[in-house]
Amino acid sequence: MKSTIMRALRDINDNRFLNGVAILTVALSVLIAGAFLLIWTNLNHWMAASENNIRMMVYLKDGTTEAQSQDTTYRIQGLDVVQKVQFISKTQALSMLKAQLKQQASLLDGLGENPLPDSLEVELKNGAVRLNQIEFIADQITRMPAVQSVEYGQQWMERFTSLLKLFRFAGMILGGIFFIASGLIVANTARLVLYSRRDEVEIMRLVGATDLFIKAPFYIEGLLQGASGGGVGLFAVYAAYLFMSSKLTSNLASGFWQIRFLSIESIGIIIGCSIGIGLIGCFLSMKQFFRN
């Protein structure tokens, strides 16, 4: 085994350029797939965090009596997923709006009548509901007699979900294309090395070397190309992550959204895929070479 590894390392040194190209291609694939995975992971994380803090505003119809609004409050509170319901009268709503507008609050002075409706602020239980289930709950509340409308940022959530899907799809397609391309380049590298050493391979066969003895160093080369390419690519993703996270941290003062790096599992899968690409590339070229 030791001598096989030594032979593989000697071969890599003898074919530095070809091996360098193969490693760079794998690294580029990992960089692209890793970048998409990083963005997708963070968006997903953000969405999961949002699910822990879901609030809805239920606007009541004009002229709703206190009894009706109390009845609505009880009915909403009766839903399994609801944590808390708070009644906000139209007067309270106006003073809250004024407080938010600060200096511009005088703009509201011109209003003769308070245009805001009575409302209920509904807080859902943490983790009890996924974003895609909210629509169903909102629908249930909307059908209550005293309810005018329910608002929970529908459009924003729909766009966010679509964006997430798009990222996952684009990442899978681009990552897939680049992984296939790098597999072919690794295969081509192994083929070029094999052809440059076909006399040596022929001599090895004549002296009684088994196919395994001849092929083993090439597989080790493929494995090392894949692993090195994976490592270099991940390092590039990490560098990009550090850069982006320093930029975002300074921009998002509240620290509301902390960027996180890929999980150990994701890193393991990426390295595993890179090694797999290296080995499959070698297998393909070896199969063709030894068939001829």
């Binding site: 001598s3 040596e200 066969r205 002296v207």
Partner: protein, 235 residues
């Protein structure tokens, strides 16, 4: 017939070999016994190299049977071919040394392929390089050696795995008379240690001085089978 004839190490029965419509060997039937020194001779294109190639499965036979040490080559599985080849030490006219490996590593390759341990490889390689007089050049690369030296390294590689049969295909074809004499002396020495030697050559000087049995091929057919000057089989 001598007493050594009791056990043939190679048997060929009605062997034919063609490349497309071109016939290279026709109806060859012969036995080669353990520790024989065989010279396969004949003009260029007579089929000498092809006959040797059939023995180590460098080429498959078109028709007929070849048996090496009891193994029928037409029934051998692909995975057993490397093991079959370890019965042979093969010497080529163009040496077939790996130019990017040192003399030591070229010879060691045979033993590495057999899965021998590093320490045994070191010992054995030094021993065979000493036998062929190339111990002092073990760190040299083949392109820096003369033709005669390269062929001595090839002989060392051929005997490193202690094969039972040496196949030498025109081993002196590219050498000056002195170097050719050295190679022949080495082959004779190997034969005296009990190894079967099959030498393909059309060098008349070598044939006259070699002794042993002569198989004469003409246009792919065995025209004469001569032992000690006596024809024992003709067309």
């Amino acid at each position: 017939m001598g007493e050594h004839r009791s056990s043939p190490i190679i048997r060929m029965f009605h062997v034919h070999k063609s490349y497309g419509i071109q016939k290279s060997l026709e109806d060859i039937t012969l036995d080669i016994y353990r520790n024989e020194f065989i010279i396969v001779t004949g003009p260029s294109g007579a089929g000498k190299s092809t006959l040797l190639k059939l023995l180590y499965l460098g080429e498959p036979v078109t028709q007929g049977q070849v048996i090496v040490d009891g193994i029928n080559l037409s029934r051998i599985s692909r995975s057993r071919i490397p093991h079959l080849r370890r019965n042979f030490g093969i010497i080529f006219q163009d040496y077939k040394l790996i130019p990017t490996k040192t003399v030591f590593n070229n010879v060691a390759l045979v033993l590495e392929a057999m899965g021998e341990k590093r320490r045994l490889i070191q010992k054995k390689v030094h021993s065979v390089l000493r036998t062929v007089g190339m111990e002092h050049k073990q760190e040299a690369f083949p392109p820096s050696l003369s033709g005669g030296e390269q062929q001595r390294v090839a002989v060392a590689r051929a005997i490193a795995g202690s094969p039972r049969i040496i196949l030498a295909d025109e081993p002196t074809g590219s050498l000056d008379p002195d170097s050719a004499g050295n190679i022949m002396a080495l082959l004779k020495g190997i034969h005296q240690k009990g190894v079967t030697v099959i030498l393909a050559t059309h060098d008349r000087m070598l044939i006259e001085n070699a002794g042993g049995r002569i198989l004469h091929l003409v246009q792919g057919q065995l025209s004469e089978n001569i032992e000690d000057g006596q024809v024992i089989n003709t067309l």
